[in-house]
Amino acid sequence: MGHQELRIKHKAFLVESAFRMFRPEAGTEEQKNYWVDRLLDGHDLNDMINELKSGFLGAIGSPSSDHLEARPEPAEKAELGTVGEGDYSGSAIPRETLGVLRAGMPETVPATIENRSSFKWASDSDQPINVAYHWLDEHGDMLFFEGNRTSLKTAIMPGQSALVDVHVVPPAKPGKYRLMLTLVHEGTCWFEDRGFSVSSQPVDVEWCLPTSTNRVLEELAFMRTTSHGEVVA
């Protein structure tokens, strides 16, 4: 599944959940598609929920569509200055080769975050900016989109870089993966949708199991290889 497909799937899931919770009696396909498009465009999830609660179900051409035009811009955006497409330039690069991680065990990945945009990146606002990540399979296809957040302890000003210890939880199953570090402007957008440079690094994830389970696996492996006459050291 590609990146964009996964984004669409993710937004559709949010819309379904919101309708189920706040408007279970409503929700045509047209209305839901409307909200998926709005969220993909960066519309705030909380605003969507409030609008559903207030009775606005969405869809172009609906009686309440002028309600949209009348809606003011979120105050928070004014603080950041004018932010548009391509204005989230920057990068997040791990400082070390990632090597082997353990399935499901939180790890700290030191990374250099560079802000090449025109506005401050900070976590201490109502729509914070946090470091996050995606997990891809070894071929680069998206596997898990919503990585845990790491907040920025200090803001990163335009033109500056910062060293950040990113808290990462590897996938729950062992295998070969790729880790893509990125940033997220909560309720607004993922940085890579707006000009942020992303790349992914290979990671091997090995089992992280209790001692006794690990030991049994080792003993099974030993028994198999001795029965075939190969040396295990």
């Binding site: 353990r102 499901g104 065990m105 939180p106 939880v169 729950a172 089992w207 992280c208 199991l209 209790p210 001692t211 006794s212 389970t213 690990n214 030991r215 049994v216 696996l217 080792e218 003993e219 099974l220 030993f222 028994m223 198999r224 001795t226 029965s227 006459g229 190969e230 040396v231 295990v232 050291a233």
Partner: protein, 1051 residues
Amino acid sequence: MKVLIDLQVAQTGTNPEAGKYALALSKAAAQEVGENGELLVLLNGSLEATIDELRAELEGFIKQENIRVWYAPDGMGSICDGNPSLRKVAAHTREAVIAEQEPDLVILPSLWLGWADEAVISFDYEPPGCPIATILPGESFHGPQKELEQGRRGEWHRSLLEKLSRADFVLDVPGLSEPELCNGIPDTNRVRWPSAEADQLVEALQVSVRSLLGEARSEKNGFAEKVMRSLNLDGVKPKLAFVSPLPPEKTGIGYYSAELLPELAHYYDIDVVVDQEQVSDEWIESNCTIRSVEWFWKHGLEYDRVVYQFGNSRFHAHMWDLIEKIPGVAVIHDFYLGDAVAYREDGAGKGLALPRELYLSHGYDALKPIITDGDRAEAIRLYPCSYSPIREAKGVIVHSNHARDLAREWYGDTVADTFEVIPHLRVLPERHPEEKQAARQRLGIAEDAFLICSFGVVNKSKLNHRLYSAWCDSRVANDPNARIVFVGETPDAYGQRLRSEIEGSSYSNRISFTGWADSETFQDYLAAADVAVQLRTNSRGETSGTVLDCMANGLATICNAHGSFAEVPDSGVWKLEDRFEEEDLITALDTLWSDHTRREQLGVDGREQIVKSYSPEFCSNRYFEAIEQAYSQHRRSRLNVIKTASEVLDSAMQHEVLAACIGNSLPVSTPQRQLLVDVTVVAREDLRTGVQRVVRSILSQLLDMDLPGYRIEPVYTNPSMDGFFYARQFTQEFMGGEHSVLPDEPMEAHTGDIFLGLDLHGDGIAAQCGYLEGLRDRGVKVVFVVHDLLPVTHPHWFPGPEEQTFENWLSCITKFDGAICVSQTTADELEKWMVSRNVERKRPYRIGVAHNGADIRQSVPSMGLPEDAEQVLAQIEAKPSFLMVGTVEPRKGVTQVLDAFEHLWQQGKDYSLVLVGKRGWNIEDLADRLENHPEKGSRLFWLQGISDEYLERTYAASTCLIAGSEGEGFGLPLIEAAQQEIPILARDIPVFREVAGAHAEYFTADTAQQLSASIDGWLNGYKMQRYPDSKGMPFLTWRGSCEKYLDFMLQ
């Protein structure tokens, strides 16, 4: 007597009548076994729905930790439509679990299980080595006769009849058993159940069980012999792999092994396994096949017996990995093995070997020298770190009772009791008078010299400096023909210093050091010497064979009664006290120098003792018995299960789920039970709330305490995974470590462990409820700490979802063994809640009380004062100041108190109000009032997020503590005020009465005016010295509180 009963028949529901009888039989057996024996019950973990109920049924009859649970592989199914290969693995797993308990009798109430359910009954893979008893079945067990002869079910029935015929005892129960359905079952071993009416059933059961146990007891020794005989492979010597360094490697153990092997060869056909280029012993080269370690990895499991010689040096580094996969008997020459483990890390590429072994063997305490000071040497000196080979071995041999005592001290009775003590063997050399002179000639020692030798590496533990010191003050030193020779290396600074001192003295031409001595040189000095002096201190469980060498050579030997030397027979040596006086050593030297007859006799006596207690025949026979005994038992039987699994399952099925079932049934153990302490929130972030102060304080005490038989393991849970994890990184930092050496890993827990839900995280615990129920079923005691029930008793004080979250948390925690409440008030509330929610319990739920401790200094206090602190404190002290401590939130009564003070200020009263506590939930209006109050900074102070040091100073500057809360779990500020000896004015609520008793004044106030009158009235009384004195208020220290936790959990 140890009796094990398999209660699957009570779990499956296939035959409720049989299940009822089995349960009644268990209770009768428990009473019959009584205090002098032990009853174990075995349950099938796959039938999990029945476990809690059966545990409840057996409550009061047997200890919960005597109920063992084993796990069949997922997807096994029943006999008729399940997976036969998985069933084989399940059968072997179950039998291995039984065998490892080493029962004296196994009772299988019913064999007719498994056809259409997930029970597993067999005794084919690991015969337990004791009698098996079962109940003779009847029609109700297996259906009409005619059905039994057809198809797979008939085949199954016939197999069960065959099993029945192999049982040692068969209980014939009137009304249940129908003998005519089981033609061909011998009558000889039947134990007839006396007929009984229903109301006499218990008595009848007891009679039957008594009879059965009596029969089993008389069979016990016969069974043991039968097992030992079965090990004798029809007169053919078993094939034994002997893993040891051998000559020419420079280790005493190598030479010991070379002496032992010819004797052991009387019993076994021996191959030696070495990690060296060549072996230079004639007998070994001629009589043994020499194998490499690499070869042994491939073929080690083909041997009938394996023996490992473990010692504290690099020569043994490869054995740790070998014994894990190829189990055998471990001969532990040195009880402290830290140097060998360190070599594994530094020289053999086994990263973190030393910290892992320290932690495994001894817990977090043993890591302290490394994580705080980076001092590995100190950790090695203090801790044996020898548990791994002991755990992995099929049996352990040591050479002294002292070594076994050390095992008892460090690892407990259960481990130490399995040790066999076999003295070092000594071949008695032939001695001819001319040998002494011949040896002296070879060594260049004069014929008339009086030669004193001290054998072994020169180091501090050998007290070589004391021999030199005694020599200097002795008469023998005045004899120009008297000499001392230190026969051994001087590898360290101690030896170098002694050598320099002697070389600079007037004795430099009469005292010498040989350095490393090969075997021939060593033997020459034994022959040439007149007296040997072998001293020792700081024994680490090693056994010096050198004293025995001296005795065997008829050499008059002086030693001190330290460590294993204390066990050398008194008559064979001149034995000094362990901490001997120098004059005693001088007396010994002078006497043996001057009294030739006495010296000769001592030598003769020494040789006699060697013949009596250390002869090769005697020792090798003891070795044989110990090895055979070890192999007749069922330690490490998990590997046999693995072998079955690898034979019957293809590799795709040998996955982590299967491994978890086998691992949970037959786990890798630690030497101590675990006390697992949930610190999830604190490990993530210390928000310095009251709850987190409790968590940090109790954890600190637990880590500091010496709790024999238990290790403290802080754990946490991760929302994205199932289960808990060892919080090793957090704990190492919490202990003050600058370097964290061990990573976090998934937690595992087994019967006898305890889980303490110390930290408070409602969502996290509710999410792990199923996991915790699994632990409970497995025999882990699960206990939670309850601070208060305010979110459910006063939900309006908390954010919306909090009430439901808390209800969910309470619903979860009341499924387990009990709760520790921080006050009697909280305990009463919890009981009331359980009644009101009609909480259904199968087993008793215990509720205990442990007040929080109140010694700020012992709760890892935070330090630091802001710049304006002194000015603020001065202002507080300048007027009558009333202090409130705690998070500023609705239930704390701050609004009413502020209103009351505004009333007082309007009346012209010049009092101050000081609030200490962070901003809480839902106080926007109050916070605005406080931030913008005209008295702010003058007579109103709000100190947020201050350190413990600042808090303590604020208490001291204040006149009175106002405890205005409308609801609390405990009321720590009352005790802190009492410690500071400041008076208390508290709202009249039950928990404040409980904590403060008569040491506070109480108020009831529905309005601010009422409260202001109370405050004013109190101050008037204060001025006239009429107020309750908080001094003397009883309170617990954190240590005292922690002891109450432990009393509750370990009951």
